[in-house]
Amino acid sequence: EKKPEETVTTVRFVTWKPNQPEVWDEIVALFENENPDVKIERETGPHSSTAFHDLLTQKLKNRSRDVDVFFMDVIWPSEFAAAGWAMPLGELFPVSERSAFLDGAILANTYDGKIYGVPLFVDSGVLYYRTDLLKKYGFSPPETWERMVDQAASIVAGEKKEGTGIYGFSGQFKQYEGLVCNMMEYILSNNGRMIDPVTGKSDLMEKASIGAVRFVRDRIIGNVAPRGVLTYQEPESLDVFIQGKAVFHRNWPYAWEVSNNPGRSAVAGKVGISRLPHFPGGESHSTLGGWQLGISSYSENKEAAWKFVKFLSSERVQKIIAVKSGKAPTRKILYGDREVIQANPHFAGMRDVFATAYPRPRSPLYPAISNILQRYFSKAISDPGSDLEKEAEAASEEINRIVALGR
């Protein structure tokens, strides 16, 4: 009677609570069907990236045997690689295979020349807008941030006259990782930079960087966006948008599905999507987000684990995910797939967005760096009277000190 245990390997998959649990149930069932010798045991963590990170890293620090396969946010592979938590995939995931994936996504999984994760889906910031309102006031989707702010302001004023309370914009500005994503988009699109990719030193004090931050502080927070955005993560900001209380909304692609779902959204069918605006003279840049699959170095079932990772990242499964839960796939080819595009018409124009999406600084010390960035941005944008140069300088010093630690 011991037999079934001997033949069936259990792969423990640490995931977060998915948007559509049924899609994942289906995928796992499919896998288990095809591989009767492997059983998938899922453990779901919190949906918040930070909380999920804390949970996962504690398991890994613990060398816990109950992790085989796990999700990694796009910023984690360096950390996980340096810490020795994620297994280098090397031969299993040869260069030839990698070329089928989006370049930015592969880059994000590379640390010190080795690859540590397989990108499963990508995210990047996009701008949602209310087609009905823009049309009503005769606007087209804004190219620059200035335009967006102006459009938002006139729409808010116009709607107010008609007695409808509405905000101009909602995004994610709480002191957490998402704040770094949002702010990076402003900085990059002003030709600024947060961290020098070569030296790892801070570039926050550059004029362009500071200018972008100042714009957010003076023109967005408390103006077109309510001050409440300072407490918003994705769910809260999306909530405002789908309740019809915001003209523009910055979010990840997943919001498309939700905001067009009449069961959940008050603005279904009235939502448009476009690239993020930029500053005059800059170029639109989104922050690369997305989730990777990694395998724990401490896993006792690496073979079965890889089997599962390979299955999940395969074209057909990515397609299922893309079609059924609206996540943007990492395999380039799927952006030409009819079914995918049919289910997610907005993907058609997004391939470029994804292709040019910019990863956040890659460093095993990124969590510490990110905390400094979060602090700096939060401080900078929530206090209208703050001395940005001074704050930036202080933050830079700290970042440089942290970076020096790793040397």
Binding site: N19, E43, T44, G45, P46, H47, S48, A51, D54, L55, L56, Q58, K59, K61, N62, S64, D66, E234, P235, E236, L238, D239, I242, Q243, V258, R264
Partner: protein, 270 residues
Amino acid sequence: MKKTVFFLTVICVVFFSLLPFLWFLDTSLKTEMEITSIPPVLVPDFALDFYRSSIEHYNLLHYLWNSIIVAGLSTFITLSLSIFAGYALARLRVKYKGLIMGGLLTVSMFPQISIAGPVWRILQSAGWLNTYQGLVLPYVTLTLPLGVWIVASFFRELPKELEDSAKIDGCGHVQTLFRIMLPLAAPGIFTAAILVFIYAWNEFFFALLIMTRQGYQTLPVGIALFQGEYSLPWGEISAASTVATIPLVFMVFLFQKRIVRGLSAGAIKG
């Protein structure tokens, strides 16, 4: 006139004490629409949707079960140890009694952060992260001072003559403890048990560090990390919070006298 002012103060105090809880209770019984409505709906729909949903989608029952196990075990172990140590410290010749009591008191005041790292490492090397014992052991440690102090202070209040009498009647130390002291200190022990239970039920910091697997997380951790996709699931949060709070509210209403006594014994009498 004086009376009116007094009763107004009483009403104010009671109102403010209960308001947030009642508001959350109210919220948990509303529907999704009612939660966000302005002006707020006072009389809810009494829909139990959020309870159902927090059980089905948010593992509420798991959290509840874990909390019961962890708090129950901690209470049991802490009290067993407290009875022995409390008796010895209250009644027997012990060297450095003051030092021991003072040391215990200091422990109860340790900020969690100052021991968190090492405790975590100890549990890690024992392989006890994400196990019940992994959380119960620190809880026992942190609640022991409280338990010992309260139990000892109750023991100390029992007349010394009773014990002398028992000894002359032929009891050894152990018999004296179990046949005479224990039954008499039962109210004190019960008091300590309530307080320890409440502590363990409410503790968050260590639960957050040690219980990283959802299957082992306790209610506070569950409630703190509740997060949905589209909006914060306030309905579910309030439902889970109500579930976490109701037992305590019951305890408070049933045992308020003991709790007050225990707290002041722990604090003032020391």
